[in-house]
């Protein structure tokens, strides 16, 4: 009896399932984001201290959250590759890196644009901001390391090791605002500190962007599977033509 992960480990089965799921996940994410934007711009009140600038929170917090979640996904996938040799784990890790980098970049830019009117500066080298910048460089490092090694299997393994070593950045980012005295506010607790009139649009925005993230990850995984098929078929075509030329020379 195969488990769910064993059944999904087949790339052809994954392509079939993801091909059916992808439009629905993407469309649902788009609807949630659109509804969140309606709430943000037409319903949610201004903050009593920050005024309308608090609207940046509705995109900054989901971006920062997904920046970390993408790295957690890479770490889990890397573990799956190194320990269980799951055929799709490396595909998942490779696909998540540029998406995580994009969300980290978005979190850095939106945070900077939020910081200037609130703190009086775009950037400060405090623990939270610096650790998120390091996360961005870590993503770039994973992408660069993988693309610098031609052997796909070796590249996957070395990138997985780096990803697992780098996972230490996640608790540093999470607890940086508690461990050190930072300019950045403490973590947004969805259940207690945010007023419901702002919490609801924030939660809907977070769900919408998360669905978008999963749709993008699924699409990137599909692209990677196709790329590997193209590579394998190109190699087999080259080998076939070499065999033909060798047999022609022999005759």
């Amino acid at each position: 009896m195969q488990t769910l992960t064993q059944r999904l480990a087949n790339p052809t089965r994954f392509m079939d399932l993801s091909g059916r799921l992808l439009p629905w996940v993407a469309a649902t994410g788009a609807v949630w984001i659109a509804y969140a934007m309606y709430l943000v711009f037409f319903v949610a009140p201004p903050d009593y201290q920050q005024g309308e600038t608090v609207k940046i929170m509705y995109i900054h917090v989901p971006a920062a959250w997904l920046a970390m979640m993408a790295y957690a996904l890479i770490a889990i996938s890397s573990f799956g590759l190194l320990v269980f040799r799951h055929p799709l784990a490396d595909v998942s890790a490779k696909a998540a890196a540029p998406i995580g980098a994009a969300f980290t970049l978005a979190a850095l830019i939106t945070g900077s644009l939020w910081g200037k009117p609130m703190w009086g500066t775009y950037w400060v080298w405090d623990a939270r901001l610096t650790s998120v910048l390091l996360l961005f460089f870590l993503y770039l490092g994973l992408i660069a390391l993988r693309s610098s090694i031609e052997d796909e299997t070796l590249a996957g393994k070395l990138t997985a090791v780096l990803a697992l070593v780098g996972v230490a950045i996640l608790p540093v980012i999470k607890f940086s605002v508690e461990w050190w005295n930072t300019l950045h506010q403490s973590s947004t607790a969805f259940t207690s500190t945010v007023d419901p009139s702002m919490r609801t649009p924030l939660l809907i925005s977070a769900v919408g962007f998360s669905l978008l993230f999963f749709a993008l990850h699924m699409k990137a995984m599909r692209n990677e599977i196709l790329r590997r098929r193209v590579k394998a078929l190109t190699l087999s075509e080259v080998e076939r033509s070499e065999r033909l030329s060798a047999s022609a020379v022999a005759e």
Partner: protein
């Protein structure tokens, strides 16, 4: 006078988010299209995967 304080920062943040995500989506769609065309070209030359030769998906 700015009717809402810091409007430019709010707009810039949303535009930046939209540009980053639009760029990511466009790159993924283009990459998928490019790989699909490359696979079609190979199959048109008679280079097929074993599962495709066997008639499976």
């Amino acid at each position: 006078m700015d009717p809402v304080p810091h409007t430019a920062f709010i707009i810039a943040a949303y535009v930046a988010m939209a540009v980053v995500l639009a760029g990511l989506i466009a790159w993924l769609l283009f990459d998928g299209w490019r790989q699909a065309r490359a696979l079609e070209a190979l199959e048109a030359r008679g280079v097929k995967r074993r599962s495709a030769k066997d008639g499976a998906s």
